[in-house]
């Protein structure tokens, strides 16, 4: 999909390539602890800290990738990257509702709370594909760029300076996801 938005990209865990990149995307599916363990075992945690916190490279975390930016997750024991003052929590509904299945899976919309170049010009009918049982809960509402409703409103796009995260899968979200990735490549 990055090819379609004409952004030169490489899938890599090679420190030299990560250092040379202008921008980074941290995708991720699977469990929180597995994600952190993978980063640590490949020696990427320290490298990413330098690239993101000191050199201020724009980074976009997707799904689990975004959740790894938080301090911790109810899904695991290991600490997260702790780049954001936020935690990852499981969907919890006040009343059991058979319609609200976990995972939250399917197409849903964004309510934009703060305008940001990442979310510019996505169109009024923009919808995105979600698959997740856990979501990010920000201590600072200023970090929440957009919310999505599933039983309640949760943070679906977050920001802290150069750090951006989206809970959905833009790569599975047709032209809407393509628009967001293009924004990340060209406008952020």
């Amino acid at each position: 999909m990055l090819k379609k938005v004409s952004a030169a990209s490489a899938i890599s865990s090679d420190p030299a390539i990560i250092e040379a990149a202008d921008k980074l995307i941290l995708p991720g599916v699977g469990a929180f602890d597995d994600g952190m363990k993978n980063l640590t075992e490949r020696g990427l945690t320290e490298l990413l800290n330098v690239q993101v916190l000191q050199r201020k490279k724009p980074i976009l975390g997707l799904c689990l990738g975004m959740q790894l930016f938080t301090r911790r997750s109810e899904e695991g024991q290991l600490p997260g990257l702790s780049w954001m003052n936020a935690e990852t929590v499981r969907f919890k509904f006040d009343e059991p509702n058979p319609q609200l299945k976990i995972p939250h899976m399917g197409w849903n919309t964004l309510q934009i709370r703060h305008p940001h170049p990442l979310l510019a010009d996505l169109g009024a009918d923009a919808r995105f594909y979600f698959v997740h049982s856990y979501h990010v809960s920000c201590a600072d509402v200023g970090n929440v760029l957009a919310e999505t409703n599933y039983g309640y409103d949760f943070a679906s796009v977050v920001v802290r300076e150069n750090i951006l995260g989206a809970q959905f899968h833009p790569e599975k979200s047709h032209k809407f996801g393509m628009g967001l990735l293009k924004n990340f490549a060209e406008r952020v």
Binding site: K101, W107, R127, Y129, G177, M178
Partner: protein, 254 residues
């Protein structure tokens, strides 16, 4: 608000797309890559591919074809057919397939569903259940593309699949397949009530009202259809179509 998913379900046979009636008489539709491109342009919610001869021919999934398909697919894609190795599931997910459906082998070895869900996560594992009325008029699960009776009631198998960790059920009515007479609402209702995981209903849809019916009356979480999206008119001319986002929202009220 989460939207109701409407899913074209496409059948692969000898690397071409086909459409069956009651799991028989496959009609050739065209090249899968071309058809995927059309569905991609129509911004469908999700696509499911079932290789209907993989199990009967004792073949593994057609990985090279699927890798071409996923590179054209900017929506979630499910695949089923000949899945009986964990290694194949890993390979499919690495190709960009979102969900892997297991049918015949889930009946032969239900523990495979558990192993698959442990490895890939429940959200990626779909138990696909094909049902037809047996000689006594009772619902019965069939495997091997509808050729092999199992003696199992679909509700019993559905509950077991959920317990083993399947994240979703794809429930196909063999009797309604390709008939365009509407879904078997009774079957869908029985299974939907028995499980908490999403049930994707398949078999019989011809109109957008059928899609609404199976969700509102049948209790399905999502509606899959084949003929409705590939045929046009009483002479069943091949024409790929899909309702617009506006039509779907008006129908489902979400």
């Amino acid at each position: 608000m989460l939207r109701t998913r409407v899913i074209p379900c496409l059948l692969l046979k000898d690397r071409g797309l086909v459409k069956t009636v009651k799991f028989r008489d496959p009609t050739y539709l065209g090249d899968p890559i071309n058809i995927v491109k059309i569905f991609n342009d129509k911004e469908v919610d999700e696509l499911v591919f079932l290789d209907i001869t993989a199990t009967v021919e004792n073949r593994r999934p057609p990985f090279d074809l699927l890798s071409k398909i996923t590179s054209e697919c900017f929506m979630p894609l499910g695949y089923g057919g000949g899945v009986r190795h964990l290694e194949d599931i890993r390979k499919l997910l690495n190709l960009g397939v979102e969900k892997v459906a297991v049918n015949s082998y889930a009946v032969e070895n239900p523990l495979f569903i558990k192993a698959a869900a442990d490895q890939a996560g429940s959200q990626s594992i779909v138990a696909s259940i094909d049902v037809k009325a047996n000689r006594l008029g009772e619902y019965e699960v069939y495997t091997h593309s509808g050729q092999k009776a199992t003696g199992l009631h679909p509700v019993k198998l559905a509950i077991e699949m959920e317990e083993q960790g399947a994240g979703e059920l794809l429930l196909n009515s063999i009797d309604r397949d390709g008939t365009m007479q509407g879904y078997d609402l009774e079957l869908i209702r029985q299974v939907s009530r028995a499980v908490t995981i999403p049930v994707v209903a398949s078999g019989g849809a011809a109109t957008i009202q059928h899609l609404a019916e199976v969700v509102k009356q049948g209790g399905a979480s999502a509606a899959a259809a084949g003929s409705m999206f590939v045929f046009q008119g009483p002479r069943r001319a091949v024409l790929i179509s899909y309702p617009s986002s506006q039509e779907l929202r008006a129908t489902f009220g979400d």
